[in-house]
Amino acid sequence: MTDPLDALREPLVPVDPDPRFAARLRALLEQALLGGAMSTTTDSVQGEVGYASVWTPEVERAEAFYGAVLGWRVQSGHHQVLGLRQHLGLADGQSYHGTFLSHGVTDLADTVRRIREAGGTAEEPTRQSYGLSALCADSEGLPFALHEIGPRPAADSQPGEIAYLTYEVVDSVRARAFYSAVFGWTFSPGRHEDGWGVDQVRPMTGMHGGHDQPRVVPMYHVADIAEAVAAVDRAGGTAGEVSRQPYGLSALCADDQGTPFYLGQF
């Protein structure tokens, strides 16, 4: 039996709204998503990464590599990457090879105490040109630094910057307990088995358990992943396959000295 009201059927036909409305709404969304609108709390988030550096045996080679792949311009002699909002750098890593993070905290002495209580190690804070700093290691022996908290990192990333950080850890139960005791971080289950997202922190950070050795793997934001992967290959690194993720495209790569990193196009 037909129903005369079936004649009312209205398939979805896209209609472009007034462009002024479209622009206003977009600005509103950007502000809500990327601006300060979502950080309604005035409490500072402890342990956000304020500085990240890539430590490799040969720092000049690394400068050339990351210059070719990510477009990093490096201040000569100081190994600091120029022109980004994030503070990134490179370092001559005879003793340590990998990505090294420095976390901003309000009270260094208190954090040092917490690190020691939670099974990590921490040197006494020393005064550097940029403020107090302390060298530490977490309960699995991953080295990191503390510094006095500065302005919050931006909520988003630009090409060349870190879009997010993955902690690969041996035992995620122990590692989560350490970082929640030290920085007050809370974790939510991620999309993968034993994968965890750290709530609130910038840049976005996650943790994944079950690895032989602890390490941090950054994901660098690139505008064109195919181009960046080709550049990795040309520069003598290990270029991974590009895979489609819910948020965009990513590829796990390594530089020409074996330092792992992800590339992400969003």
Binding site: V13, P14, P17, G197, H208, Y247
Partner: protein, 175 residues
Amino acid sequence: MEQRPRVRPDPGFALLDLYEQALPQVYGYLLARCREQALAEDLTAEVFLAAVDACRRERPPELTTGWLVTVARNKLVDHWRRLEREARGLRVISAEPAEPEDPWDRRLDAMLAREVLDELGAHHRAALTLRYLDGLPVPEVAHNLGRTVHATEALLVRARTAFRAAYQNREEGTR
């Protein structure tokens, strides 16, 4: 080594990426159903701001145009519910069974039918829009309206009766 990163990205990026493509869909859906530009714009803004809130949840939904259109439908129902509340106070729609309908078999003039729909009470308009314009099955109409299937069937009968009376009245008026 696994090829995928193990952290959840910020779904806010996904929303901004989706915006240009999804905006005409969401706005088109709403405009065709509420037929007022200013209202369609307000509801469209509500839809995208709801998506921002959803991005902030611990387990954000996967943002797609389909998800946004579903939110748009909810916003439209909320809007009609507000109108209904304003019009009649917090009236509980009676659950009594509706009168059985006479069969009504005729071709509707689509233009006239839409005008008639605009005149109906908000609760009738909501039920008929979801059932006929969107083509949803009755259980989904019920879900969207937050009613039981039984109550929704009764509401649809009353809404069709009201529609038919208004339509026939209009037809007579135009003769």
